[in-house]
């Protein structure tokens, strides 16, 4: 059986050997980090964004590269998923975008700060993270036995305005694609005329006080485009 001095030698030898390997691998990791993380893209804005991220302990709710608090979504690929415009609107009043859901602190970031946060998240999303996060591998279609009901709407008639696909789809679905926070908009054109839709988009609260629909920052032409598009969904 092992003697005490042999046991000590096992402890000291093992510790020394594995520490040495660990230091060696760390040096090699440091050597590769710049290219794997696109360090050349770490701009002033990205650094400022990281500072804002840390100063407000965003990781106390959110998760980034899978590290965080699991209370709010992982933001590794958020820029790819939602787009910069949506995040920009969302940060102004997070609760307005997800009414009645899990709450996020309203930080009152300036336009510039929001841009920096987005720049940071955009850079993080492009880190080579060995293929993480994985794509869902049991597509919902494959476990639904009956074919999904075909939603009939003339989506094809008009392509979605850019702002619509950046903002509205986060809550509303068209042709089965989009969020389910607000109602699906497949036949909205036959329910409301364009004048009503226009007034609704200008100020939802004025038409239906207490509604969950936020007032979105849309320019006149953008709103007009969306109204035209919605009117065509019959």
């Amino acid at each position: 059986m092992l003697s005490k001095s042999q046991a000590r030698a096992f402890f000291l030898g093992g510790t020394f050997l594995f520490s040495a390997i660990f230091v060696f691998l760390t040096v090699d990791t440091l050597r590769q980090t710049d290219s794997r993380t696109n360090a050349q893209n770490i701009t002033e804005d990205v650094l400022k964004g990281k500072e804002i991220w840390e100063k407000n302990n965003c990781m106390g709710c959110h998760t980034l590269l899978g590290e965080g608090a699991y209370y709010a979504p992982d933001l590794t690929k958020v820029v790819e998923r939602r787009g910069a415009t949506w995040i920009d609107v969302f940060l102004d009043d997070p609760q307005a975008m997800f009414p009645g859901e899990r709450k996020m602190v309203k930080y009152n970031f300036t336009k510039e700060e929001k841009g920096q946060v987005i720049a940071f998240l955009d850079w993080v999303g492009k880190i080579d993270a060995n293929g993480w996060p994985p794509k869902p591998n049991i597509p919902i279609d494959s476990i639904v036995t009956s074919p999904a009901p075909q939603i009939k709407s003339n989506v094809v008639a008009l392509s979605q305005p850019e702002k619509f696909s950046q903002l509205c789809v986060a809550c509303h679905a068209v042709g089965g694609k989009g969020g389910n926070v607000g109602p699906a908009l497949d036949h909205v054109g036959s329910k409301f005329d364009s004048d009503y839709l226009n007034r609704w988009l200008s100020d939802p609260q004025a038409i239906k006080p207490g509604t969950n629909m936020p007032k979105l920052p849309l320019t006149d032409p953008e709103r007009k485009d969306i109204v035209t598009y919605l009117s065509a969904l019959k």
Binding site: K4, A7, F10, F11, G14, T15, F18, S19, I21, F22, L25, T29, L30, Q32, T33, R36, T37, A39, I42, L47, W53, E54, K55, N57, C58, M59, G60, C61, T63, L64, L65, G66, E67, G68, A69, Y70, Y71, A72, P73, D74, F98, R102, K103, V105, W123, I127, A129, N130, G131, W132, P133, P134, P136, N137, I138, P139, I140, I143, G179, N180
Partner: protein, 449 residues
């Protein structure tokens, strides 16, 4: 208690009890927030509750380790502590820094790096504080006539814990490196040097409680901590899979993480074997319960549940989900929380001369808190597995999935209530022991060595 200066440990233990209670309060705030009852959102948003909850955990465990060291080192060194005054100064400043940090969290003042949220200026104070502590312990050992393995392993563990705090204080522009070196603190603490501290404390308790020959226990102490470092150092790799580091970490992290349970298994077998070989019965059964319980629960929580999701092919789905929270709860409870409670259970009768371990309340504390913690872990496990399937495998939206698993947090809150009942019993017992008394000097209750 053999030495007057061991009394200082009492105040560290009392601080532990206070911080643990506070940690539980913040845990409840988070639990209720998860079932949609987040009325405190405007005052204590989730990120504040979370930072407070985890930092309190770290601080109360470290306070417990310090208390344990102040209790164990004089006895192992067979002399009084180098400076009692320094120990009190250190405790008071430690508490002050902790209180400032926690208040700061409520005013959005922090560093925002998971587990290392304490703001930078306070980091420096922590370093000074820990150096003071180590100086006191080192001088006590240095001037002692007696050297023991237990004493040295414990000291080496505490020293490494202090040194490994430093990489967490370097600033990196690159998020990947930031994360890389943050794990040098967090992982190498809990899956490395803290286990050394754990081994040292466990060895001390086993020597006292089982009466098995010191040489035998200390030989196995070397084997156990050897296994810890053998697997734990490169096991850090399991945090490096998906943060932008080279692919070889998948293999290195995977293999060595798979070996990590061995250290905990070794710890459990070691403790149980020493118990089996015991010469005669120590009257303080409660301390023995916590000691053996810690060895076994750390194997289940840290070893087995860690093993369950560190293999890369599994981890790519479970990474960043409630599965991690599940493992975290039982791991910290089994390995470190129970161990600190074991030291406290062992030391209190010796410090105060009161043999409260004869009553029922000690057993109630043990069983209620353990069953409660297992229940919480179970609730998190079910929620976590559901989350992995719905969110990761099926690609459902994060918030939709959270709604689906909300129910499990009702279960978690119920289990947490049972846990709290257990801890309340423990704390009431602690208070009933009263203050350390000079009458208890010179003798330990029922020691076998």
């Amino acid at each position: 208690m053999r030495f007057q200066s061991q009394k200082v440990a009492y105040w560290f233990f009392a601080t532990c009890m206070l911080l643990l209670s506070l940690q539980i309060v913040y845990g409840f705030i988070m639990g209720f927030a998860r079932i949609g009852m987040d009325g405190l959102h405007d005052y204590i948003p989730f990120n504040t509750a979370r930072a407070t909850h985890t930092n309190l955990l770290v601080v109360w465990l470290l306070t417990g380790f310090m208390g344990a060291a102040y209790y164990i080192i004089p006895e192992e060194s067979d002399r009084e502590l180098y400076s009692v005054k320094l120990a009190y100064i250190q405790l008071i400043s430690w508490v002050v820094v902790g209180v400032i940090a926690i208040i700061g969290f409520h005013f959005n003042w922090w560093e925002g790096r998971k587990f290392l949220e304490i703001p930078r200026p306070l980091d420096y104070l922590v370093v000074v504080n820990v150096l003071t502590f180590l100086f006191n312990i080192a001088m006590t050992i240095w001037e002692a006539k007696k050297r023991s393995t237990t004493q040295l392993v414990l000291f080496f563990g505490l020293l490494c814990a202090a040194l490994l705090y430093l990489p967490g204080m370097i600033y990196f522009d690159n998020q990947t490196l930031d994360s890389y070196f943050r794990w040098w603190v967090v992982h190498l603490w809990v899956e490395g040097v803290w286990e050394l501290i754990m081994g040292g404390i466990l060895a001390f308790l086993l020597i006292k409680l089982t009466g098995v020959d010191r040489e035998v226990i200390e030989k196995w102490l070397y084997v156990v901590v050897g296994l810890t470092f053998l697997s734990g150092i490169l096991g850090t790799g399991h945090h490096y899979y998906w943060i932008g580091t080279p692919k070889y970490w998948l293999m290195v992290g995977g293999i060595f993480s798979a070996l990590e349970p061995l250290a905990f298994l070794g710890m459990a077998i070691w403790a149980l074997n020493m118990y089996r070989k015991k010469g005669k019965n120590h009257p303080n059964k409660i301390a023995l319960y916590w000691t053996l319980g810690s060895a076994m629960m750390s194997f289940i929580g840290a070893g087995f549940l860690g093993f369950a999701h560190t293999w890369p092919a599994v981890n790519q789905w479970t990474h960043g989900t409630l599965i991690t929270a599940m493992h975290g709860h039982l791991a910290f409870w089994g390995a470190y929380a129970m161990l600190v409670l074991a030291v406290i259970s062992y030391a209190m009768p010796n410090l105060t001369g009161r043999k409260l371990f004869t009553g029922m309340s000690g057993y109630l504390a043990f069983w209620a808190s353990n069953i409660g913690m297992l229940g919480m872990t179970g609730a998190l496990a079910v929620a976590g597995i559901a989350q992995v399937y719905l969110e990761r495998k099926l690609g459902m939206d994060f918030l939709v999935v959270q709604k689906e698993i909300e129910f499990h947090f009702v279960g978690m809150l119920l289990a947490a209530t049972l846990f709290t009942v257990g801890i309340t019993y423990f704390i009431v017992d602690f208070i009933r022991h009263g203050l350390p008394s000079n009458e208890a000097l010179g003798k330990n209750v029922g020691d076998l060595d």
